[in-house]
């Protein structure tokens, strides 16, 4: 019996919460809060001005976060959800969990302007296929070349059911191929090395050398130029245009800390948050930064055309398009 009690005590000690101060709980995706991501700096910067403790809760990736909200409903522990993108904001809004952000959107600098009253963008970037120049001297020049290329040259993709880049690639395929998307998936299938649950796993696998291509962002090479001082990894420019991702955050209406959550959303558009974005999240900031973007950002691929479905279009079709993908890549 004593042993049993001791084990319980151990478990309790391991799980003991540390909060005495007001805590702001933020759900986000894994790479955002990794040691090299923006999470630690943003936490420190916000805690300087808020008299609160920021607690990050890491979820595999953006879409997984939406699913978690569906399961948790109003019982969710989140005060803020950070890391959804415009492809899933409509579906998130339908959960009726989010409160209007109430922030001044006039200073936002996102492509196409901003009018959403619930979700606030913090950064954006075009998706791109990133390739390893040492293994692949000649990259595909279009999505069609990627789909029809040599099956021996593999690509690592993310799962659209859990990852926002994964969903972004699925929508890119849909935007280019329309009714013929299922056929295109079937042609692409032999080139897919694996489909990971989130972006972190895919990019880790890529830099470890498991495949010459990965689905990521136009901005990813900037990381390698700035941090690793190498031009080895490059983004392929596609003639059909590139799909755009605008990453957003929203406050949970039922949160007891709604005012604090709103002040975090306002803080999100200030240099205390925005300055960390270019060199930790490796995306384009959605608002003013204190310093100009690092030089590497000037050497990136500039998409000839931006592809983007409206949130409503994605919401209406997401399930059907995912089923189409599942059936096309299935055995």
């Amino acid at each position: 019996m004593k042993k049993l009690l001791a084990t319980f005590a151990c478990l309790a000690a391991l799980a003991a919460p540390a909060a005495a101060q007001t805590t702001l709980t933020i759900y986000t995706y894994e790479s955002f809060v990794s040691e090299w991501g923006p999470g630690p700096a943003i936490k420190a910067n916000f805690e300087k001005v808020c008299a609160c403790t920021v607690e990050w809760v890491a979820v595999t990736d953006g879409v997984a976060m939406l699913n978690r909200l569906k399961i948790e409903g109003t019982a969710t522990k989140a005060d803020i959800v950070l890391g959804l993108d415009t492809n899933i904001t409509e579906e998130a809004r339908e959960l009726k969990l989010f409160a209007p952000h109430g922030a001044d959107t006039s200073k936002l600098k996102v492509p196409g302007g901003w009018s959403d009253a619930d979700f606030l963008p913090y950064d954006y970037g075009h998706f791109a296929v990133v390739y390893d120049t040492e293994k692949m001297p000649v990259p595909p020049k279009s999505l069609d070349e990627l789909v029809n290329g040599d099956p021996a040259q593999k690509i690592i993709l993310e799962d659209p059911r859990s990852s926002t880049p994964g969903l972004g690639f699925l929508l890119w395929m849909k935007a280019v191929y329309g009714d013929k998307t299922a056929d295109a998936w079937k042609k692409l299938k032999p080139r897919i090395l694996t489909t990971t649950p989130g972006w972190s796993e895919a990019y880790g696998l890529f830099t470890k050398g498991e495949a010459p291509m990965v689905f990521s962002y136009v901005t990813s090479p900037a990381y390698h130029i700035e941090a690793d001082k190498t031009e080895r990894y490059q983004a392929a420019s596609f003639t059909e245009g590139h799909y755009l991702q605008i990453e957003v955050a929203g406050a949970i209406a039922a949160s007891p800390e709604l005012d604090l959550a709103r002040s975090f959303l306002a803080f999100m558009l200030t240099p205390g948050f925005q300055d960390t974005i270019p060199t930790t999240n490796w995306m384009i900031p959605a608002a003013e930064t204190a310093a100009p973007l690092p030089a590497a950002f000037g050497r990136l691929v500039t998409p000839s055309k931006t592809l983007l479905f409206t949130p409503t279009e994605v919401n209406t079709n997401r399930r059907a398009w995912i089923d189409e993908w599942l059936n096309a890549v299935g055995n």
Partner: protein, 503 residues
């Protein structure tokens, strides 16, 4: 009390299991009703079902096909290496699935020692992992069967000058034939329900029912589809269990010593063939193990996180073992008198997909501010239920045989209740109890599925730490964690199989 009516302990155990299952299914059914959606067999569901059957069939066929000639080769040659080889062959069964996946990635990943040989992500990788687990299982059963051929038969065969093909056809095959369907059904069942291997090596193109259930709950939150898939999984399991018969789980194989001299010495061609078979088995099992050992020793570094994970895992395993034994004990006693429901209840935790139970519980407790502690409690319950059928299968036969020999004597002596347990039951049954306990402990210690399904931030077990390290390609750390986990599980497995406990 050895009366014909159910004891309060048995009623409590049954109620606990039924409530746990209902608490899992109930909230999901409610969600399915309110959420709407289609319970039905669409193209995706069919695809998942057919892939499940395909990979399980292939895994079974390959495992059995490799095991048959190897078992024969092992029995035909008297060698000092045989006991060593047989004990190496026992290793995969004690290893956690996530450790086996790590070993295979180390060897066959693109940057592994044998990289580029095959694409690990997909059918090939899944088959490799399943054969790694199940070929040795089949091999051990076949070897024991061949060793159990009565010496008279073999002597007669030798006198008749049977060897090679005719010996196989007249003596060996007839002995093996009745065993094959049972072991095949068991392997098929294990592969059809495989979760961790398919979750880590599969993908959208290679998904089994068990993983698809998890994905439709965690990724799509399509409860109706998850329930459809679960229904299929339960049906498939039920059919297989019925086909395999309960005998496949409890079968005691003949354990006779063989005198190898009665065989005629194999010819040169057969010797080469046999050597190749044995080499293949040794490489298949030993190769990945060696890779883990060599890499793991270089990278094992007991950091704070690993220590914390070890403590958490040990605590969870200790509690779930206690739960499994507490449930198994009254059920085992009941089984000597009653059949029917008594044999089905302990299987419920295995038949109802763990993903369904976990999600139901998760929905049920989502309003509570439990954090990691609550998650740990749910993991303990899930692991306890998962180990229960195995614990019952170890304890029940021992209880039955004790009862036949001693129960009347106890009644004559007026021993009952606690004194009977202390004086008569426990001393006689502690061997099987310890064996069941060690088994449950090892199962829980190496289990990734429950913590994947129920885990919360801040709850790190050894398998979940290993999974995270693998997911973020910190392969050096992963090798160290993997080795520690492998050593713990192998130690527990060896202890459980030791002669002192088995007798």
């Amino acid at each position: 009390m050895a009366t014909e009516t159910a004891t309060p302990a048995y009623r409590t155990a049954t109620a606990f299991i039924l409530i746990a299952v209902a608490a899992g299914l109930g909230p999901l059914l409610l969600f399915a009703i309110t959420q709407g959606g289609r319970i039905g067999l669409d193209a995706y569901v069919w695809r998942v079902l057919s892939f499940t059957l395909l990979q399980a069939s292939l895994s079974t066929v390959i495992s059995v096909a490799l095991a048959l000639p190897t078992a024969r080769a092992l029995v035909r040659h008297r060698s000092r290496a045989r006991p060593i080889l047989l004990s190496i062959l026992a290793v995969p069964q004690s290893l956690p699935a996530i450790v086996v996946v790590l070993m295979l990635v180390t060897l066959f990943g693109a940057s592994g020692l044998m990289g580029g040989l095959l694409n690990l992500y997909g059918l090939a990788g899944i088959l490799l992992a399943h054969v790694y687990f199940n070929m040795p299982l089949a091999l051990r059963v076949f070897t024991q069967t061949l060793q159990g051929i009565p010496p008279e038969n073999r002597r007669l065969a030798a006198q008749l000058g049977l060897h090679g093909w005719s010996l196989w056809r007249m003596v060996e095959w007839p002995a093996l034939r009745p065993v094959i369907p049972r072991i095949a059904a068991l392997i098929f069942l294990l592969c059809a329900g495989s979760f961790v291997v398919v979750l880590t090596l599969g993908g959208p193109a290679a998904t089994t029912l068990e993983v698809a259930i998890y994905q439709s709950l965690r990724m799509d939150f399509d409860v109706a589809r998850a329930l459809t898939l679960s229904l299929l999984q339960v049906t498939l399991c039920a059919v297989l269990v019925a086909l395999a018969g309960r005998s496949a789980w409890t079968e005691q194989l003949p354990r006779r010593r063989m005198d190898g001299d009665t065989y005629e010495a194999p010819g040169r061609a057969e010797r080469i063939f046999n050597a190749l078979c044995i080499l293949m088995a040794a490489l298949l099992v030993g190769g990945p193990l060696l890779a883990l050992l060599v890499e793991g020793i270089r990278h094992i570094s007991p950091g704070l996180l690993m220590l914390q994970a070890l403590m958490t895992s040990t605590a969870i395993a200790a509690l779930s073992t206690t739960l499994a034994l507490a449930l198994a004990w009254p059920i085992a006693w009941r089984q000597r008198r009653a059949r029917g429901l008594t044999t089905v209840t302990p299987l419920l935790g295995l038949i109802v997909p763990p993903a369904v139970l976990a999600m139901g519980w998760f929905i049920l407790v989502r309003g509570l501010d439990g954090g990691a502690l609550l998650a740990a409690v749910l993991i303990v319950i899930l692991n306890g239920l998962m180990a229960l059928p195995f614990a019952v299968n170890i304890v029940a036969p021992a209880v039955a045989s004790w009862s036949e020999r001693q129960e009347r004597l106890c009644a004559q002596l007026g021993l009952s209740g606690w004194p009977r347990f202390r004086i008569a039951e426990f001393p006689a049954l502690r061997g099987p109890l310890a064996q069941a306990g060690l088994y449950a402990f090892s199962l829980s210690l190496g289990d990734l599925s429950a913590v994947t399904l129920l885990g919360s931030q801040g709850l790190v077990t050894l398998p979940s730490l290993l999974h995270a390290q693998m997911g973020h390609y910190r392969s050096d750390d992963a090798m160290g964690t993997g080795l520690l986990l492998a050593i713990l599980c192998l130690g527990l497995g060896a202890l459980a199989n030791s002669k002192r406990l088995a007798s």
